[in-house]
Amino acid sequence: MANATPGAGTPAAASAAGLRVSGLTKRFGDRAVLDGVDFEVRRGELVAFLGANGSGKSTTLKCVMGLTEPDAGSIELDGRRLDALRGQALVEARRRAAMVFQKICLVPRRTALDNVCAGGLSRVRGAGSVSPLFFPKDLREEAMACLDRVGLADRALDRAGRLSGGQQQRVAIARALCQRAGVVLADEPVSALDPAAAEQVMTLLVDLAHDEGLAVAAVLHQPDLALRHADRAIGLLRGRIAYDGPMSAMSVDVQEELYRPDHGADGSEPAGSAAQTPGATSREERVAPGPRPLVKGTIA
């Protein structure tokens, strides 16, 4: 089964870059987690980020979201360069990107609707933003529409904690929509979900990219999911781009290289590293890579 929509199949209007990153570099101590990363995510496409733990996928997303400061490089969101902006202007520009987390990060005691409304808080000021009781009507109606878009309008008044994992992740995606983001960054959005829920969430993300023209970047640990859903794949290996092209054109050799364990050459396959993802994933940055030299020539 080849990818249904490889890069060429995306709508023509999708050529505009939602997110453009160039020369992104980040060091923790003397270890370069990101070493001159360049890539682009266009509107209307879903790009899968693949790579072993510690390859720099999550750090890349965190730099874009401002959760980590990069040491060098530029980030362009919807045509605006973030490094040129400061203070409130930077917050405004960053609001064009929304993040979807592996740990979902909803408030379990609040209703699904209130959680979605929270995505639009930056548009509400003053007393209206203190309690869900005072949320303006138009925000609540917009949030309802976002919930409807992810297929959960009928669960709007249920507490988020009562929904299943897959439903919660869809509520989190609705929150991103309510933020009116043009770029969605998903950090292992389906790692904590069962296969059926993962499939549903991935389908939703692809639909949002293709139908609503969002630029979606998703860190995935399952190459087969990427193969089925992503328009394009970017492979990261020890902080550098090792592959950038259609997922269907990514050879098994490349996949093996991306996921090869750092210690020993015991010929592991990517499926093995994908199977162990739940739970062990968010510690990515703390896992030190082995001292092996770069073998860039073998893949790119």
């Binding site: 959760l67 917050v91 987390f101 979902i104 990060c105 639009g120 808080l121 930056s122 933003s129 929150r175």
Partner: protein
């Protein structure tokens, strides 16, 4: 397994040997050090307890010699006095005052405790300096006993329940602020981080992520503090803050030990009721 694969007839004997197999245990280099450590810790504990026994003039012989004194005291205390007009009714009325002191002391300290808790929790404090200052304020209110606050307020507002309420507000702000700050530091920061990425302001993040995440813990701690404060207000009554503590004090001073026992029975019932109530509310919150 291996025996089956090689097909040797001695498979049964081999399995048995596997089950009884032994391996030398590696030498644990730190064992001696750990033993020394434990010995030192136990010795130190014994020494401080000996010092404590001396420091408190702890002497069981004295207790045995003086048993008649206790017997006389107890014989005067029983049976308790159940005179409705002179003992039970005033006792119940005073108990209500004690309850009100504990209630107001708890609820009126909520705004101060909440503000200081937010400022002094590592995860929510706006600035390291603010964090340190807020922590210092909480430490001060915690370090000064409520009874000292009561004596200070008595000089301003005179003897009575009002001074007790003010004292409890001060002390409870310190304790509850600290407990709440710790609860906030321990909760999942995910939703707060998620709201940061949506561009929500600090105040919005507090009201829509941090606080809703900690409400169950907050209310649980609040109920616990209510329970403690009702008992504290008893002690405050002993120094003149009113309530049933005052009646107990008066009963002792006038050698009416039978009345004292009646008041203690009333207090016992009050404490059980408050404890049950707070346990009930905490249970309901967890669902």
């Amino acid at each position: 397994m291996t025996a089956v694969q090689t097909g040797r007839p001695a498979s049964a004997g081999r399995d048995a040997a596997d089950r009884g197999a032994r391996l030398p245990v590696p030498v644990d280099a730190s064992r001696g050090r750990r033993f020394t450590g434990w010995t030192l810790a136990v010795t130190a504990l014994v020494v401080v307890h000996v010092l404590a026994v001396q420091g408190t003039e702890f002497e069981l012989g004295k207790l045995v010699d003086g048993w008649q004194g206790m017997a006389r005291f107890v014989s005067q205390a029983f049976p308790p006095s159940f005179n409705w007009d002179k003992v039970v009714l005033p006792g119940l009325e005073a108990t209500l005052v004690t309850l009100w002191i504990g209630l107001l002391g708890t609820t009126l300290s909520v705004p101060f405790a909440l503000l200081l808790a937010i400022l002094s929790s590592r995860t929510m404090s706006p600035h390291p300096v603010v964090y340190q200052v807020a922590r210092a304020i909480l430490s001060f209110f915690r370090a000064v006993p409520d009874i000292v606050f009561a004596l200070v307020f008595v000089t301003a507002v005179g003897l009575g329940p009002f001074a007790g309420v003010l004292a409890l507000i001060c002390h409870n702000t310190g304790v509850m602020g600290k407990l709440w700050a710790e609860a906030m530091e321990e909760t999942d920061q995910g939703p707060e981080q998620a709201l940061t990425t949506t561009g929500a302001s600090r105040v919005q993040r507090i009201f829509h992520a941090s606080l809703p995440m900690v409400i169950p813990q907050f209310v649980g701690l609040l109920m616990y503090r209510f329970d403690v404060n009702v008992r504290s207000s008893l002690v405050l009554g002993l120094v003149g803050a009113g309530g049933i503590g005052l009646l107990i004090n008066q009963a002792i001073k006038t050698f009416r030990f039978d009345e004292m026992v009646t008041y203690i029975i009333i207090v016992l019932i009050l404490v059980i009721v408050v404890d049950q109530l707070s346990a009930f509310i905490r249970r309901r919150l967890q669902v």
